[in-house]
Structures are given as structure tokens and as C-alpha cells.
């Protein structure tokens, strides 16, 4: 098949699946899941064929033309898009297959699998899009599918609230995103990614406002501060959804989008600093919050926030300037290392975090929907779950040889080269990461079972084990050049390679943070039914909890006390003005007309008809010269 047809197949297969499920299979959950998984299989198969086939192409057509405004849809299938397509295809298929087992007994299976297909369609649209407006279209659609899937257990008030919150918070980010696109269109005359790069390369001056407004979109979708509040709540959705949408792919779309518009940031470095600090602060803040979570999914959610912060910070670190040669032959090379390292970490994170979430799904499934890690324990008995989950933990905390180690080191090296302060903060974050991950790992799998459900835990079926194993393998190998280079093509060349003393510094740091964090957690937390930090250092525990809740408290205050009261006030004024207008109107012109009309308004429709006919007849008579 021609590459373009393959790409169309990849995009449209999930849409077809969603349509078929919505129209025909609403009550046929089993069949719906088969259709949806088949679509995911097609996406993964055709997608990998495209990625590994090596064809890169662009194609577009106008979609809407009004006056001078033209919106095109098109594909820009370059190495970056290929990398993202591989991630979405693999993670998507893994989650679809896992869902077969995990959601087997759910009454609304058809809706669930239909939602997954809508998500795949929307996400692939973002990946393949060749212009910002098309990205925005699919950006909104992933938001919708996320709403749908978070709301899966809609009879729970908490799920309904979380879905609403996710959608609205994302809309706040999209407010800026859309304005940025409009500004870009007005200022550069195009929203096409290639044309933007060409315009910027041609010396077009770009206001820092444009990339900053576009970054607002990433703030929402990738849950960066201060719009991060929706992601922990989004854990109300089914666990496979958390793995696919709220860990591996959709939340990473913000970082992908940033890499797509990297030229705009290169032209406006001031914007890049903002990005850097937002990412850095989010990484640290979320890692601190993760320490005091007792819900297994919440630990992973805050971990995702923190890792996304890592990626955003990596992007914000920007280009790496390297001096080559010496003397007269010396020249400087500028490497877009920020985007390169961000995407590298996005890739490894997608695999090990999907693995961890699906692993937590296996744990939750095994424990009959128990999610509190204080009430687990002793789950080493589940061999597949324990082995794969452990690999995921080792990968995320950066154990040498596993995927997370390479991508985290690349970021730390870039930070060391460009901003030592950020390097310090990210290293501290890495300590915290291994701390909270090992805490969770120990509480879940070690010691004796601390609840009835944990002691009766049993392994899920093959459909749940298989995705775990595949993702575990990827969590090991995805960091190696042989694998990452295959998926990312020339984009892999953007990775910086540490030399000399910097290399040693980064290596020593990363092994030290791993040892300190993991060792401290292992020593500090007994595998017991209460939190050691809360018991031994209640002040610190309470402080972290306060920090954790501060944003939600502030937003709740705003919504309930400011926004709603303002709305009530305006509503009150409207009623007053309304009443006032009528009182004044009776004396005024409006009133005169009103009285006249009211006299006619006697509730009988005949009177109206007669009046109308009389008027029409009079006019007719007048102009035809009867009088």
C-alpha cells in the first residue's frame, strides 16, 4: 500500500470502529470490544509498517474556505510524527488488549471500547497533523474522549466531577492555545508547521507572546502548573484509560506539540525560560505530593505529573551549543537538544508508565478493586505482575541499563550544560522519585497481606499478562540506540552525548540519587498498614498534604466564592433591570406599544388573525389603488 493510504488507514480505522460501535453495537459489548481491538491492531500494524518502512511524506487539502480564511487538513509524516505514531500504536494496542480482560465484566463495555476508539482517532490526528488548526481540532477531540472515559463510572459523583473538571481545565488551557494560533495566523500568515519553520528561518520576527500562548495548550493537556489539578482526579476513570490517556499518550501530546513548534521558541528565547521553570517547578512539586499518596493510582498520577514536568523542563532547556575543533577551525554547532531529550524521555516514559499503570490495574483487579496501598501487601505471590511491575519501578527510578536511565541522564546532562540550578532541582526530583516509587513498591508487594482482598489476590488472565510482558521488555530496551534510533530516525540525532568530566558528574549524580532515594524509602517505610512519615514526622506529612491540597483549595474558593457569587450578582442585576425596564416602559414608548398590543392580546387566536389580515388587506388596497 502507498504510504499515504496507510496513513489514512491508520487514522480512519479507529473512527470507523467508533462509528460502528455507536450505531450498531451499543448493547453488544463483546462484539464491540473485538471491533475496537481490531482497529487498534490495524493502527499498530500499519503504523509500524509506516515507521519502519522509512517513507516520510507530506500531503494536504483544503477543508474549509470562507472569505480569505482557509483551513487545510493534511499529514506531515516526518521522523517526529513517526516516533509518536509508534508510541501511540504500541501503547494503544497494549491497553486495548489489557482491557479485554480488565473490563470483561463491565456492563458498559461497548461505551468503553467506543470511547477508546474515539481516543485513538483523535490522538492519531494530532500526531499526523501538518498545521496548528488541525492539531487544535484533534486536541479538542482527545479532550472529549478523555471526558467520556473518565466519566465511565458516571453514577459516582466523584467520577462525574472529575470528568467535568478535566474538560474545563483543559478548556482554560485551550483558550490560550487558540488565541496563540489566531495570533500566529495573523502574524506569520500561516499555521502550517513547515511554513512556520520556513518563515522563522527566513528571519521573520516572532513575538514571545505567540509561543507562550501556544504553550498554554500544553499547560492544560500535559497538566503543568497551575493547570495540573485535573490529572490526579482523572484517576476516577478505568485503570487502562489512565495508562493510555493519562500517562502514555494524551498527556504527552503537550510535549509533542511543543516539539512541533520548536522553531517558534528558538526565535523567542524569552518564552523558553518560562517553559523551563514551569516544567521544573511542576516536576518537583508533583514529586513532593506523590510521597503522601496512599491510592496506588494517585501515586502514579503524581509521578506522571512529575515526569511530564521533566519533559517540559527538558524542552525548556533549549538548544545545546557545542564547540568543535580548535583555533581557526573552531565552529559552533547548535543542537536542538531540548526537543530531542524531551521526546526521548517521552518515549521511554510512555512504555514504563503504561507498564506501571497496567500493573496497578492488575493489582487492583487482583485485590477486587482495592486501591489503598496501606491495605495491600504480600503481592509478591503474583509472579507476572510482581516481575513486570518491578521492572517498571526500576526503569522509572533510572536503574542503569533500563530505558529510564538513558533518557533521564540525557536531560540531566543538558541541564548541567545549560542551567546548573535546574540541574540541582531535577536531581532532587530524581531522589524523590526513587523514594516514593520504592515506598509504593514495598507497601504493595512486601510484608504480609493487610486486608482480606489482598490475601485472596489472584493473577488475571493471558490478555492482561501479555501486554505487561511486552511493555516490560520495552521498558528495558527502549533506551538503547538500536531501538530508539529505529523508531525516531533522524530525531534520535538530537540527543546530546556527554563527554569528559560532565559525563562523570551526571553518571555519579544519577546513581547517587537512585541509591539515596531508594535506600531511604526501603529503610524508612515498614511494610505496615500505616504511613511511617505520618507517624514519625507528622509535621512534614501534614505540610506535604497541605501543599498537595493547596491548588484545589484555591480553585474551589474561586469557583464557589468568586465566580458563582459574581454570576448570582449579575443575575440579580438582570432581574432588577428587567423589572425596572418594565416599570419605566409602561410610561414610555415601549409601554405604549405594550398597552396597544396587550389590548389585542385577549388570548383568542382569531383576533390575531383578523388583525393581521386586516393590515395586509389595507396595505394591498392602498397600493393597488382601490382608494
Amino acid at each position: 500500500m502507498a504510504p499515504l493510504s496507510l496513513a489514512l488507514l491508520v487514522l480512519l480505522a479507529p473512527l470507523a470502529s467508533a462509528a460502528v460501535i455507536a450505531l450498531l453495537l451499543r448493547r453488544r459489548g463483546g462484539l464491540a470490544s473485538v471491533v475496537s481491538v481490531t482497529a487498534a491492531l490495524v493502527v499498530a500494524g500499519a503504523g509500524l509498517a509506516l515507521v519502519l518502512g522509512g517513507d516520510r511524506f507530506m500531503a494536504s487539502m483544503p477543508w474549509l474556505q470562507v472569505g480569505g480564511f482557509t483551513l487545510t487538513v493534511g499529514f506531515q509524516f516526518d521522523d517526529l510524527a513517526a516516533l509518536m505514531l509508534a508510541i501511540v500504536g504500541i501503547a494503544g494496542l497494549a491497553v486495548h488488549v489489557f482491557s479485554l480482560g480488565y473490563m470483561h465484566d463491565d456492563g458498559a463495555r461497548a461505551r468503553y471500547f467506543g470511547g477508546l476508539s474515539v481516543f485513538m482517532f483523535s490522538m492519531l490526528g494530532i500526531v499526523l497533523a501538518d498545521n496548528l488548526l488541525m492539531i487544535f481540532v484533534f486536541w479538542e477531540l482527545v479532550g472529549f474522549s478523555s471526558y467520556l472515559l473518565i466519566n465511565h463510572y458516571h453514577e459516582k459523583a466523584s467520577a462525574a466531577d472529575a470528568a467535568k473538571k478535566a474538560f474545563i481545565v483543559n478548556r482554560v488551557g485551550d483558550f490560550g492555545f487558540l488565541l496563540g494560533i489566531l495570533w500566529c495566523q495573523a502574524s506569520l500568515g500561516t499555521v502550517n508547521l513547515t511554513e512556520i519553520a520556513a518563515a522563522v528561518g527566513g528571519g521573520q520576527v516572532v513575538s514571545a507572546g505567540i509561543p507562550l500562548l501556544l504553550f498554554c495548550g500544553a499547560l492544560g493537556k500535559s497538566a503543568q502548573m497551575p493547570l495540573h489539578v485535573w490529572l490526579p482526579d482523572a484517576m476516577e476513570g478505568p485503570t487502562p484509560v489512565s495508562a493510555l490517556i493519562h500517562a502514555a499518550t494524551m498527556v504527552a501530546a503537550g510535549i509533542y506539540m511543543l516539539c512541533r513548534i520548536e522553531p517558534l521558541f528558538a526565535a523567542a528565547p524569552a518564552a523558553l525560560d518560562v517553559v523551563l521553570w514551569v516544567g521544573t517547578v511542576t516536576a518537583l512539586y508533583a514529586a513532593l505530593c506523590a510521597i503522601v499518596q496512599n491510592d496506588i493510582k494517585k501515586v502514579l498520577a503524581y509521578s506522571t505529573l512529575s515526569q511530564l514536568g521533566y519533559m517540559v523542563a527538558a524542552f525548556g532547556l533549549g538548544a545545546l551549543r557545542m564547540r568543535h575543533g580548535d583555533g581557526a577551525a573552531a565552529h559552533e554547532i547548535v543542537l536542538a537538544a531540548g526537543a530531542g531529550t524531551a521526546m526521548f524521555h517521552l518515549t521511554t516514559h510512555a512504555f514504563f508508565k503504561a507498564l506501571l499503570f497496567l500493573g496497578s490495574g492488575a493489582v487492583i483487579h487482583a485485590c477486587h478493586h482495592e486501591q489503598d496501598i496501606l491495605r495491600m501487601g504480600g503481592l509478591r505471590r503474583l509472579p507476572v505482575t510482581f516481575a513486570t511491575f518491578t521492572l517498571g519501578v526500576l526503569a522509572i527510578i533510572g536503574t542503569p541499563g533500563l530505558a529510564g536511565f538513558f533518557s533521564k541522564d540525557a536531560i540531566l546532562y543538558l541541564a548541567l550544560a545549560n542551567s546548573p540550578i535546574v540541574f540541582g532541582v531535577l536531581a532532587l526530583t530524581a531522589v524523590l522519585t526513587s523514594f516514593y516509587m520504592v515506598r509504593m513498591w514495598k507497601l504493595v508487594f512486601f510484608g504480609a497481606p493487610r486486608s482480606e482482598s489482598a490475601s485472596h489476590a489472584h493473577e488475571g488472565g493471558l490478555s492482561m499478562a501479555l501486554p505487561l510482558i511486552v511493555l516490560a521488555v520495552l521498558a528495558i530496551i527502549a533506551g538503547y540506540g538500536g531501538v530508539y534510533g529505529k523508531l525516531a530516525g533522524s530525531f534520535a540525532d538530537l540527543l546530546p552525548h556527554a563527554h569528559g568530566s560532565d559525563h562523570i558528574t551526571v553518571l555519579v549524580t544519577s546513581i547517587a540519587v537512585l541509591a539515596i532515594g531508594a535506600g531511604a524509602a526501603w529503610a524508612f517505610y515498614p511494610a505496615a498498614g500505616e504511613d511511617a512519615l505520618a507517624k514519625r514526622v507528622p509535621g512534614a506529612y501534614a505540610g506535604l498534604q497541605l501543599l498537595n491540597g493547596s491548588f484545589d483549595a484555591a480553585y474551589s474558593f474561586y469557583v464557589a466564592k468568586v465566580q458563582q457569587r459574581f454570576a448570582m450578582l449579575l443575575n440579580f442585576l438582570e432581574q432588577i433591570v428587567l423589572a425596572g425596564l418594565i416599570i419605566r416602559g409602561v410610561a414610555g414608548v415601549v409601554g405604549l406599544v405594550g398597552i396597544g398590543v396587550r389590548a389585542l392580546h385577549v388570548g383568542s387566536l382569531h383576533v390575531y388573525v383578523y388583525w393581521f389580515l386586516l393590515g395586509a388587506a389595507l396595505l394591498w388596497a392602498l397600493v393597488t389603488g382601490v382608494f
Binding site: G67, L182, H601
Partner: protein, 506 residues
């Protein structure tokens, strides 16, 4: 004589209404009503499919009849261009949906109710098929009068007060706009109400600045009241709250667009300099629609009020498109009108469906309805997503095009308009959640214990599917609408260029 499809679309519902008024038995009346609602919709869709791609500015399917009023320059001239075609389709489809819903509603005195709705339908088809301004106005009045009656007789809570207020406001609006039309007619000296001639005349010999200023001003406020321009909007939520659902669907979905359509098709090309003069005022008032009314919608506890205020709010976008006085703005406004017409009609229809299951419109006495009625919930979520501008529904294209146009005239105003997108999401999703999700409230549990709610019946589902289907079709394939629209927009360009030349602003 050749059969004139436009005349047929107007005459069929009127003829059916006349036969029903004449005393046709109820059984036959209902059957005939299917014909009265179905024929205009079928013709509209057929003409849409037949509309030539490269029509340009020209009117298609033209016909002209002298009804003895030619002394005043009035002829029954019918035709469609790329701007009126989308509206004609809107009127046909929403009319059919409202008709189908009315037929299954089992309203008291169903015969008269259907007949009035048919009169409204005939008037609406006439409004958008008229090339003659006199008939354009005449058909509007023809459609408006049944609205008052239907609110007054078949209305819900506060129907007497609502009908009175509706009548006062809309009559004043109609009178002001009539005055504006007469002023322009008088000043142009073309001695005709024919829009094509008037526009050619206005291009060759533009009206004086004073005439344009007052003409456009009268039309702006006259039409503005009819379209619920802030702060003349208070009739709308009240009126729609009280109106029976089919009347609310047809009025808010289609008839209300008369004012916007008049501004686009008549006021803007004939008085472009006047439009530029009023653009600043209109922008401020339209922002009032988007921001102030939007925030007021947040405070509503009644489902129908949320929909009503939301509808008023969205009119602000279309007004902002007109205030941008650009071709893109006009195009966006037309897309928006069609999309909004479909989605608001759908929301009113579904709100009534909800009411029949909850026995209340009070959002604080619902909750968890999705459990009993998953299909109704899916429809309502879809309609809500359409109204908050999710891509995939027609509304998105309208909003996006408008935002592009607004940004061009002022980025700050665009920021205000785009902020409305967030506000809409808040009030709309809040309403959805209160009706359908979470645990049931105590009040709703009592209702359920009394009569368990049944899911959407096919009689209700059919009109909803019609509206939703078209929203999705345009949403996925906007070119179906934008291609004819775009070619007609060219006719506005010269007039707007005149404006740009005369515009004293830099």
C-alpha cells in the same frame, strides 16, 4: 407553468394549515401535517444537493411574480444565493424536526397547534427564499404571530407574562427594523424592494453617510432586539422558558436568525459605511452577550433557562462577526447561525424529553438520569458538545471562522470572545452532570419510585436524529455548506471595500 420549488416549499405548509383551519378532522389533519412539514424539508435538501458549485454571487432557482404591488416596487421574487441557501436548509430541517416532535407531543387542541406551527413554517421558508425585502419582512411577521399565540395558549409557567413581554419586545424590534428598511428604500431612489437591484444601486451610488448611519442604526437595534442583542435580550430566556417546545425550537433555531440574516443580507451591503460607524457600539454590546449573559447562565438552576441564556450568549459571536465588517466575519456568522439553529433546537427538544422523565426543570432536583435513559443521555451530551463548539459538530467551524475574523479587527475583543468558550463549557457541562450523572437526588428518587423513566422513544428520537445528523454532517464535511457560501461572499466584497475606503479609521 413550471413548478417552482421555492414557492412549493412556502405554499405547502400554508395550504395544509389552511385546510386544517377549515375544519379537517383530526385524524387527517395529523397525516396531512406530515406532508406540510416534510415537503419544505425535502425541497430544501434537494435544492442544497442541486445548488451549482460555481454559482458565484448569482441567485439560483429565481422566479418573480407581480401580485399587483409593482406600483411600490414590490414583487414576489424568490431565489436562493449561497448565503440564503444554508438558512433555507436550516428552516426546512428544524421545521421538520419541530413538526415531528409536535405531532407526537399529544398537545391539547393538537390540530390548531399543528396548523399554527405550519403557518410559522411557511413563513420561515418564505423569509429565506425572498429576494424582495418587502416579502422578506412580510414572511417574518407571518411566522412571528403564531409564536405569540402558541406561547400564550400552549405555554408553560408564566405564559401570560412571557407572551406579553415577547410580543412587546419583538413588535418594537420589528417596527424599528421596518423603519430602517423604509428609510433605506426611500433614500436609495431605486423605487424597488428588490434586493438585487438595491445592492447594485448601493454599489453604483452609495447612500449618503447620514442615511447609512441612521439606516443601519435602525436596522441594528431593530434586528438586534429580535436576535436578543444585549441588553435587549431579557425576553428570550423568559419566552423560551414558557414556550411549548416546538415553538421554542422553531423560534430560537430559525426565526430568531431573521434579524442576523437581515443584517448580513440587507443592512451590511446597503449601508456598509453605516455598519463601520456602528461597529464599535455593536462590539461592546455583543461582548455583553458573550461575557455578561454567559456568566448569568452560570447562575441558572432551571434547565430551560440554561439553554435559553446559552442561546442568547451565542448570538454574541454572530454579532461580533458582523461588527468585524469583513467577508470572513459574515461567512462565520452564517455558519454559526446554521449550527446554532440546529443545536439549540436539539437542546430544547431534549430538555422537554428530560422534563417528561423528571417532571421538573429544576437542576437541583435531578441527578443520575443516565442510568435509566442512556440514549437520551448520549443525545444530550452530543447536543451539549455541539453547543460548546467541539470539533466534529457544525458549531466549531462557525466559531473558529468568527474568531479568525474578530482577531483581525481586534485581538483584545477576540480574547473576550474566546473566553466565552470556557464559560460555555462550565455552565453546559454543569447542567449535563446535574441532570444525568452522579447519584440521584432525593426528589428525583421519589419521581423514579413513582414512574420509572423510560429511555428516548423512537418518536422523540427521530427528530433528534435529524438535527444531530445534520450537525455531524456539516461538522465532518463543512465544505458542503462553505462552498456555496464562499462563492456568494464575493458579492459582499465590493460593498465592504467601499466601507474600507470611506472608513476614517487607519
Amino acid at each position: 407553468m413550471q413548478l417552482d420549488p421555492l414557492l412549493l416549499a412556502i405554499a405547502t405548509p400554508l395550504a395544509v394549515a389552511a385546510v386544517i383551519f377549515a375544519g379537517l378532522p383530526k385524524r387527517y389533519s395529523v397525516r396531512l401535517a406530515y406532508l406540510g412539514f416534510g415537503v419544505p424539508a425535502a425541497i430544501a435538501l434537494w435544492l442544497w444537493s442541486r445548488f451549482p458549485a460555481g454559482a458565484g454571487e448569482a441567485y439560483q432557482f429565481m422566479s418573480s411574480r407581480d401580485l399587483g404591488l409593482s406600483l411600490l416596487g414590490i414583487k414576489l421574487t424568490l431565489g436562493l444565493n449561497g448565503i440564503s441557501l444554508p438558512m433555507f436548509v436550516l428552516a426546512g430541517v428544524v421545521g421538520l424536526a419541530a413538526g415531528l416532535y409536535a405531532i407526537q407531543s399529544g398537545a391539547e387542541r393538537l390540530k390548531i397547534y399543528l396548523a399554527l406551527l405550519l403557518v410559522m413554517q411557511g413563513g420561515l421558508m418564505g423569509v429565506f427564499a425572498s429576494v424582495d425585502i418587502f416579502f422578506f419582512y412580510f414572511f417574518h411577521e407571518l411566522a412571528l404571530i403564531p409564536t405569540f399565540i402558541m406561547v400564550g395558549i400552549w405555554g408553560g409557567r408564566d405564559r401570560g407574562y412571557a407572551a406579553m413581554k415577547l410580543t412587546i419586545y419583538l413588535t418594537v424590534g420589528a417596527m424599528l427594523s421596518l423603519a430602517g428598511l423604509i428609510l433605506i428604500y426611500h433614500q436609495s431612489g431605486a423605487q424597488t424592494f428588490d434586493l438585487i437591484t438595491l445592492r447594485a444601486e448601493a454599489l453604483a451610488h452609495p447612500l449618503s453617510f447620514t442615511a447609512q448611519k441612521y439606516g443601519f442604526g435602525l436596522l441594528l437595534f431593530g434586528f438586534g432586539i429580535l436576535v436578543s442583542l444585549w441588553p435587549f435580550h431579557t425576553w428570550a430566556p423568559l419566552g423560551y422558558g414558557a414556550a411549548p417546545s416546538s415553538a421554542a425550537m422553531l423560534h430560537s433555531g430559525v426565526l430568531k436568525k431573521f434579524g442576523l440574516y437581515g443584517l448580513l443580507q440587507v443592512a451590511l451591503p446597503l449601508a456598509p459605511v453605516g455598519a463601520a460607524h456602528w461597529s464599535g457600539v455593536l462590539t461592546v454590546l455583543a461582548l455583553g452577550n458573550v461575557l455578561i449573559v454567559g456568566i448569568i447562565a452560570l447562575a441558572q438552576r432551571d434547565l430551560k433557562q440554561v439553554v435559553g441564556y446559552g442561546s442568547v450568549m451565542h448570538m454574541g459571536y454572530a454579532f461580533l462577526g458582523i461588527a468585524a465588517t469583513s467577508v470572513v466575519g459574515v461567512g462565520g456568522a452564517v455558519l454559526m447561525m446554521v449550527a446554532h439553529g440546529l443545536s439549540v433546537a436539539l437542546l430544547f427538544l431534549l430538555s422537554t424529553c428530560i422534563y417528561h422523565r423528571t417532571h421538573t426543570f429544576d437542576l437541583t432536583e435531578m441527578g443520575g438520569l443516565a442510568r435509566h435513559t442512556p440514549v437520551l443521555a448520549a443525545f444530550f451530551v452530543a447536543a451539549t458538545m455541539a453547543s460548546i463548539g467541539l470539533p466534529g459538530f457544525a458549531n466549531f467551524w462557525g466559531e473558529l471562522t468568527l474568531f479568525v475574523a474578530i482577531w483581525k479587527s481586534s485581538p483584545w475583543v477576540a480574547a473576550g470572545a474566546v473566553a466565552g468558550v470556557v464559560i460555555t463549557a462550565i455552565y453546559a457541562l454543569r447542567a449535563v452532570a446535574k441532570v444525568f450523572f452522579g447519584p440521584p437526588t432525593e426528589a428525583f428518587s421519589r419521581v423514579v419510585a413513582h414512574v420509572a423513566p423510560v429511555d428516548l422513544r423512537w418518536a422523540e428520537r427521530l427528530p433528534a436524529l435529524l438535527l444531530l445528523g445534520l450537525l455531524l454532517f456539516i461538522g465532518f464535511w463543512p465544505r458542503s455548506l462553505s462552498a456555496p457560501l464562499n462563492s456568494a461572499l464575493g458579492s459582499l466584497a465590493p460593498a465592504l471595500a467601499v466601507k474600507a475606503a470611506a472608513d476614517p479609521r487607519p
